[in-house]
């Protein structure tokens, strides 16, 4: 039925991507660019296997833009935005979602404010209506604000004793002392208490607009129908958001070790140094390098040396952590207090070994076959594909990226990896935070 709709001005630009598997078999995933009559763009992957539609949206600009003294604002908005809108108070709104089996929620990260909508096809129009209401006419009534505030404060009380939370907060504070990235995404008890309904309203009117909005849709919907719904849902948002760009963060000085004393049997260890941003030409070489170093499932060097050979930790790994205004190479481990010093020594020596000697030809080959071969495994549900569509837009990778992605990995050479390892990895640049009662490790430069 939907196929009969023809909307003037609806632009459809499709891009068919072939997902290649190790054996050479290919399967098409078609990413379509849908531009609504009012000019709102979404990327769509149709899938009619089940009567389900998933939508993900992201507004550029996240918690790093929270005003000083109001840290946690973006996050608080994310909890209250689905708690009443238009004529529907909180309980009525939530009941409507429940009764129609619609999932709607929001979240805030450092660089983005995101939303998720999931609905059965039969409730599609109501689902988009509820999303539109939440974005355009949130009520911010006193009751849900005070309820969410009390929940956020309870969460902060728990986090205050959680070794992993403490470690990550302390690390970002140490890495970015003079940049918004050093401030807590979840705020502090003081800032959460300071946030008012007017702050929430100001956030919505300034941050949620059409020019910083990215949309990914996957599932049982036609481009024509989606185009119409895009206008109804997002057409009422302001054309422009206030500036979301952040000043570039100063490169972390590094070399510092920070011990936060907590009475726990296992220390939480996190460590990071400056790293690459997503648009760095060396990003793929670094991605392959880090796969060998600490990201490769049960086969990475950190896993092998720390867990497999010595039984020092249950979980250990490293990750590339690109942000809009900074890049990091980040890692974590957990080990008994008396084995922290040994674990840190191995992490540093693996860091140095990679910087000095790079990877072997066989490690490179294995990393590439894994990274290219496992790419299709990311496409196994509507929600996951919708997230990929958002990520591609956020990182400005182009609508044909899926088709090019494995080529980028294949093109990485041994020289690239080893050059990038030498250029970036430096154990002396690591900032290390240990939360627990570690033996033989203390704070210091």
């Amino acid at each position: 039925m939907n196929g009969r709709l023809h909307l003037p001005g609806l632009a459809l630009l499709g891009f068919i991507v072939l997902i290649f598997l190790p054996g050479g078999e290919a399967q098409a995933v078609e990413v379509e660019r849908v531009v609504s009559p009012k000019g709102i763009e979404a990327w769509l992957v149709r899938n009619h296997a089940n009567p389900i539609i998933s939508l993900k949206l992201a507004f550029r600009g996240g918690a790093a833009l929270d005003p000083k003294g109001k840290e946690g604002l973006a996050r608080m908005v994310s909890t209250v935005l689905d708690e009443g809108a238009g004529d529907l108070n909180s309980q009525t709104f939530q009941k409507r979602l429940d009764d129609l089996s619609i999932t709607l929620h929001f979240s805030a990260g450092r660089d983005t404010f995101q939303g998720t909508l999931k609905t059965l096809t039969k409730n599609r129009d109501e689902a988009f209506d509820l999303l539109a209401l939440a974005l355009n006419k949130p009520r911010f009534d006193g009751e849900p604000i005070s309820r969410m505030r009390s929940q956020l404060l309870a969460g902060l009380r728990q986090d205050a004793e959680d070794p992993d939370e403490i470690a990550s907060l302390s690390l970002f504070k140490a890495l970015f002392p003079d940049h918004p990235y050093g401030r807590p995404v979840k705020g502090t008890p003081e800032t959460i208490r300071a946030i008012t309904a007017d702050d929430l309203r100001a956030f919505v009117s300034r941050r949620l607009a059409r020019d910083n909005l990215l949309i990914g849709v996957v599932g049982d919907i036609t481009p024509e129908r989606l185009g119409m719904l895009l206008d109804k849902t997002f057409g009422g948002l302001p054309a422009r958001a206030s500036d979301w760009r952040l000043p570039e963060a100063a490169k972390p000085a590094g070399g510092k070790t920070l011990v936060v004393k907590k009475p726990v049997p296992q220390s939480a260890i996190v460590f990071a140094q400056e790293g690459l941003k997503r648009d760095d030409p060396d990003f793929y070489a670094a991605y392959v390098m880090n796969h060998v170093l600490g990201a490769g499932g049960f086969t990475s060097r950190l896993y092998t040396e720390i867990r497999e050979k010595r039984g020092l930790a249950y979980s250990v790994g490293s990750y590339l952590y690109p942000l809009d205004a900074a890049g990091l190479i980040y890692g974590s481990a957990g080990t008994a207090n008396k084995r922290v010093a040994e674990t840190l020594k191995i992490i540093r020596s693996q860091w140095a070994r990679m910087a000095k000697k790079g990877v072997t030809g066989e490690e490179l080959k294995d990393a590439k076959t894994y990274l290219t071969g496992s790419f299709p495994l990311r496409f196994t549900s509507n929600g996951r594909v919708a997230s990929i569509l958002i990520g591609m837009q956020l990182d400005q990778l182009g609508i044909d990226y899926l088709d090019r992605r494995n080529g980028y990995i294949e093109a990485v050479t041994l020289e690239d990896v080893n050059r990038v390892a030498k250029k970036w990895l430096n154990p002396k640049k690591l900032t290390v935070v240990v939360v627990g009662e570690p033996e033989g490790v203390s704070s210091g430069k």
Binding site: G23, T299, E308, G334, G373
Partner: protein
Amino acid sequence: MMTFVQGDRRALLPFFALVAVLLVTAARVDAAVFNPKTFRLSNGIQVVLIPNNRVPVATHMVWYRVGSADEEPGKTGAAHLLEHLMFKGTPAYPSGAFSKIVARNGGQENAFTSQDYTGYYQTIAVDRLEKVMAMEADRMTNLILSENDVKTERLVVLEERRQRIDNNPSAILREYVNAAMFLNYPYRNPVIGWADEIRSLTRKDILAFYRRWYGPDNAIVVIAGDVTVEQVRPMAERTYGKIPAVSKPPRPRPGRVRPQEPPQKASRRVVLKDERVRQPFWSRQFMAPSYRNGATGQAYALEVLSEIFGDGSTSRLYRSLVVERKLAVSAGVRYDPSALGPARFVVYASPRLGVSIEQLKNAVADEIKILLKSGVTSDELERTVRRMQADAVYARDSLSTGAQVLGESLVIGMSIDDVESWPERIGAVTVEQINAAARAVLIRGHSVTSTLLPLKEGS
């Protein structure tokens, strides 16, 4: 609603885990949920196939009918340590080759242990499926372990225990609650094991456990993906089909005969005060029928009841305690009937700042009293059933959900029909059944009440 608690890599699957594990909620529903196909090989192994042609990828899982509740006294943690050690090697794929081959083929893998089952899985391009089937079939009977493998992996598991339990007061409390809840049933022991018993597990213990429980007659293979029975059957014959039905000399499978839980007749109270606690937590749990234990006919009614009473922000408990009376920051119910042994109906709440546990407890008791006196309404029933049935439609979306649900159900002795007719059975639940089940289960004098508190009151 079925709740999967799935850990990260070689993880542990404790029921009712509240902690840092990924919660994937899935339901089974709407007439014919996953449309699986099944066949059995001559050595007894059952193969279940769930067609899904979204991408040319398959999830391949092997489920063993053994979990931590099948361990011998003094050997807690054996099922889980074995799960870790299954990655060590066989003569054909020695020292870590299994994981290397999976990775080289672009596959992802993991494993998990629960009270009732142990599972291993890989997700991989469909043209590599036979390779992982062959490797999984190989390690079903050919595991080799060195003393050093066991020694090192024990340390890893002890770190896992520190991370999941000892570093976390609410997890510590949960161990005490489980021990209080079950007088005799082995669910009283933690899946990961007690630390001292993990330390004392030997290579011999693990190999004995392996030989006793692992084999084609005690395993179920579940595959979800872009394959047909016509393609999978010959692959299964070439891989799993080659494993002899029983080892030499032949040994009958002992079966799962577990200690029985006597009727609950006393209330118990467990309190943990810990300097690491700043947000108190309260819960009360009642022993309840599961799909496989006790008055199993009540399980579906209890699932609906748990949703009405305590699932989400429009449930009775949340509405009353969190929204209207402003006593709690969270309140709800957990009930998971997918168990071979007894299930638990858990009611929980966490107070707002300044609200005492006493006030909170009384407010929950008020709601239970109202429920027992007036029952649920037909409107609540209808809304909830509709929502639960929709969950089953959503469950079809992800490649792995069907494999998880089928595996978890079959491994505890349920049938494919049980899974496929779940929406129908939920739809058949009546107000009277819910009210009768509530009265049978929610008996204060038979419950375990737990409280997690800061060391100093008012801190």
